[in-house]
Amino acid sequence: MLASIPAEYVAPFERAWRHRELIRAVVRREFISRFRGSLLGPAWAVLSPLIMLLTYTTLFSITVPQLSAGMSITDYASGIFIGLIVFNLFSELAYRAPVLLHEHVNFVKRSIFPSETIAWTATIRAFTYAGVAFGVYIAFRLLTAGSVPLTIVLTPLLVIPFFLFILGVVWFLMALGAFTRDVAHIMASIVPVLMFATPIFYRVDQIAQMAPSAAVWLRLNVVGDYIEMLRAVALDGEIPNVVGYLALVAVSYAAFLGGYRFFMRYKAVIVDVI
């Protein structure tokens, strides 16, 4: 079965595997330089999501009671928190990806550095932070609700395709950002808009009751779909729609391969233009 998969579909994994030691070393470097010279160091990885969680919980549970209709405040807050973990992961990389090659210009231009691995290291870093934030969520759930649903064990099945999707997006934005600085500005204006087109503070079902046609469009938002499915398994204790899930995996994998090919196609030119 495995042998029958054409090489081009697994090429990105092969290259990453070949450079795994390098990816590991660079990820380590990113963490070391991020925490060096900071008093609290790695504690910030826990503190930041905690502060975010408390702020949004307080703010939105007081000001937007309609959205939380039918839910307890802690359930609603938990839903927001899951949405924010996923969306912040996406937005951090969407902001950062266009400038990634400019940040690593010395590596790319002056040493034999496989530039496609930069996307891996940036994505791994962002997912590590999101993982810590998800740990904070579980602790929050255990404290407020006393338990987490059993379906939470399905989380990796969502994390893996989402990781690939994000990686594809990062490759695409990285390559595009190398050609023009505009991409960074475009992302800075698009991401806040996307934030409201993503079911973070609400659920697509609620929109579907109010405006069915808008809900259809919202479902095209891949990040939003992942948020909804993560909420299902980690909060509501439901198993997501299998067909919807498989479609999402297919779209994510297509984005992953597409992003990789786009990057590799322009890799040779990128070295000369940054």
Partner: protein, 253 residues
Amino acid sequence: MSSEPSIRCSGVGKAFQLYAHQNDQLKQVLFGLWKKFYKEKWVLNDVNFTVNKGERVGIVGRNGAGKTTLLQILCGITFPTRGEFTVGGRIAPILALGSGFDGLLTGRENARIGAAILGLSRKEVDERIEDIAAFAEIGSFFEQPMRTYSMGMIARVAFAICAHADADVLIVDEALSVGDELFQRKCERYIAEFSRNGTILMVSHDLNFLQNLCDRVLWLENGVVREIGEPARIIADYRAAMIAEENQATGAA
């Protein structure tokens, strides 16, 4: 010394794409199939040469002759616009020194990443990191952030990493000139030792250094190989050409 070629360049040419406007780069990506948005600047034109295994070849040439671009192509950092090249074995490039280092990290941490870039596994790095530290001879500075280093110390660490990478081909771009006398001699000894099994290609403006160390010298001018051969002869020709040009310049002024 065997005679199988370790480096072979045939018809290598490199054109940089010059854009009148920064946005033209994006237009090229989007609409490149229909229209060209850049002018080409050929920095290398039809470069042909081979370097045999175990040979030490020096490259001389004026600024802008294409020396660094040629080395970057051979290292795989940038790609030739036309022509073909092969490099046999693992390459350790000592290019623009220390630019791949992170000033916030210590020499040790940077050395680990540098070695990983060259393809060493974590186990290999663990085994060699103390040797790298010993080779660099910068003492306790090895544990300090690299932003506190002098140029010479950065060069020492960079060279020490490459010296422990089990490379087959060493590519050196004017890296050694910033080290002090002692370290330069250490590098020379290392290069002499290395060339027993490995191939070396180095760019330098220190003509005496090249004459002492190289088996052959390649003179690159305006993106083509002007001459290649016996170091004493090529360097004499090169010097003569430089003097002639200087005389012409001062004569004209």
